[in-house]
Symmetry: C2
Subunit: 364 residues, 2 copies
């Protein structure tokens, strides 16, 4: 292989592909990035066997070829050298990088050892706007379970229907659901479960362009300009979460999100190991009063101004389930909706219809 | 105790005092901050037995008193509540904080259990400008040894002489020396060794005001406006480091600091466990060529443009000793000065006379 490209392009390609690569891989080839000339560009690939990232770097190809080199090493190296253009040559499992003031030989491994990354040849199934997509991903994915024993809820449910793509994630104690518009409606509804880690990675790599979604046999591919992420799908039946979403609420309290979040953080310092805090929704005082106590540390009572609809209510929550949702929202105000101390409650952003968070109270 | 102060003032006082407190103290009282009314203000104190910080918070004292409470807890709490003014009351080993929308009881420990912090009553021995002082501290202190077996070089040598305070730190492989002007000359020269950790902490707490330095029996106190740090001194004979500082050099190479640093970082990726890199100082090519190689990873050669005086030289260094110095300098350009492959070399900032770094080469 021999090609010339800019340091800037190579750097950003290496940064994107390096992210998938974990530390402590027992299989050395998984620490490496695959360099391969393809259709007049350099294709960089990385994989952790569950998901893979391909990205393309423009440049001038003088000789076709392929090789793999350690991801962290080459990424750190290119990051630190001062260079405009870099000439990349491979020979005998060694990559030779040459810039005006820097040159290096990096020992690599044969590209033949590199795991095959599945190619999904079909036409795209659906398209979404990258920016909206990555926003909704961040607001939903954190709610997925880490469970290895329940693989289906360790993923995010993607439901394609008409003009909508609905993402949902739950660990059975709370649920995040967000909607993003498809750029064109689809005719056949479809549901797939994508591993949460791949979905999180996706939020980092998609930019402001259009993202094409391709479905293959047990695989999904998200294709943005110059970069794509391929992930295996999780098999199994996703829980029918719609049935736990309440139709009506008896109390609605609208608050400043930041203030609510800070107050919950302060209150959380006075919880015991159970992490319980009590919220008194008090329409008469126009306040949510957050109460917490720990026999070892002390107690706390903090009021947050709220605009109310409905009746008085008192509910106990695990504060982490509230904070995780709030810290992933960029909205200025949110509404907390409740029914009773034993029914699921909801958090929704004010002035936005495409997001819902459901959280189960702690029954005392 | 009963007093009223602003959240802002309490917050900054708690942040400063919390820093000294480590984690995993076996003695619970060392996790606590001492609150004590004193001369119409609230005095906050913390200690790790080696050093202590006192800071003062203005406010309205209604009732004298003292108590200790867990540092991290109260710091996080005050940080997170929305409040202008806070009323602080103590009673029966409990601290009661009350703001408009938040109130808390925090369980504390009796102030009688709190270690006595030595008071140095003498008049100040010397004074320095806080801003210059903290800059020089950062450029010198990193060079101190971590050694417990050689306590004298685990500290920073403070040499007061005439109008100068000279700080020096070494681990016997490298040496940092920096000078700061005293606001008024002193008559009796004096040398003391201050633990490096206390000196580092000092750089964080002194602001732009004047810092008074007070010397007591085995103790030193640095007093800035509203905050002071008291540290024990290290006994022992500091090595006579002046003798290793070369008088003349045979090669001087002036380089862009940032570019030199980045190039060293890139080169460092190709060192073995010995961390050796070779610098070829080449007046003819007007370049420093940085060479490194590792049998496992590969090799690298990077050139940095330099303005030379003197002859050609080749020296091997542990790259960490160069990077640690450069990353602590804010100067745009530095000069590397060398004699031979077996003599100490120097790094000095261009256009500044008050700093010197000496580093021993690796003899191959």
């Amino acid at each position: 292989m021999k090609m010339v490209c800019t340091k800037k392009n190579l750097n950003s390609g290496l940064t994107i592909t390096s992210r998938v690569i974990g530390s402590g891989n027992t299989l050395p080839i998984l620490n490496n990035i695959l360099f391969k000339t393809e259709d007049g560009r350099l294709k960089l690939s990385s994989t952790n066997l569950e998901m893979a990232i391909n990205t393309w770097v423009g440049g001038k190809i003088e000789e076709e070829g392929e090789i793999t080199v350690p991801a962290r090493l080459i990424n750190d190296y290119v990051n630190n050298i001062a260079a405009d253009k870099i000439t990349i040559t491979s020979k005998n499992h060694t990559l030779f990088l040459e810039a005006e003031k820097a040159q290096t030989h990096i020992k690599g491994l044969s590209s033949e050892e590199f795991p095959l990354i599945p190619e999904i040849k079909d036409e795209n199934f659906a398209k979404v706007d990258g920016k909206e997509f990555s926003k909704i991903i961040r607001q939903v994915t954190f709610a997925a379970a880490f469970s290895e024993t329940q693989p289906e809820i360790s993923g995010v449910l993607f439901s394609f229907d008409g003009s909508d793509l609905v993402l949902a994630a739950t660990d059975r104690y709370r649920l995040g659901e967000g909607k993003v518009k498809l750029t064109a409606p689809i005719t056949t509804p479809k549901q797939v479960i994508v591993p949460a880690r791949a979905v999180n990675e996706l939020a980092r790599i998609v930019g402001s362009g259009i993202v094409e979604i391709l479905l293959g046999e047990g695989q999904i591919c998200f294709r943005a300009p110059d970069v794509e992420l391929v992930s295996r799908l999780i098999e199994g039946q996703y829980p029918d979460y719609k049935q736990i979403v309440p139709k009506n609420y008896s109390t609605e309290a609208e608050v400043d999100k930041e203030q609510f979040m800070q107050s919950l953080k302060a209150a959380s310092l006075f919880t015991s190991e159970n992490k319980n805090i009590e919220l008194d929704l008090n329409p008469q005082n126009k306040q949510i009063v957050i109460k917490s106590q720990s026999s070892q540390v002390g107690d706390s009572e903090i009021s947050v101004d709220a605009v109310f609809a409905g009746q008085k209510n008192t509910i106990v929550f695990n504060y982490r389930y509230l904070l995780e949702c709030l810290s992933n929202l960029a909205d200025e105000r949110v509404t907390l909706k409740a029914i009773s101390s034993s029914s699921p409650a909801a958090i929704v952003p004010v002035g936005r219809e495409n997001y819902l968070y459901i959280v189960m109270p702690i029954k005392i």
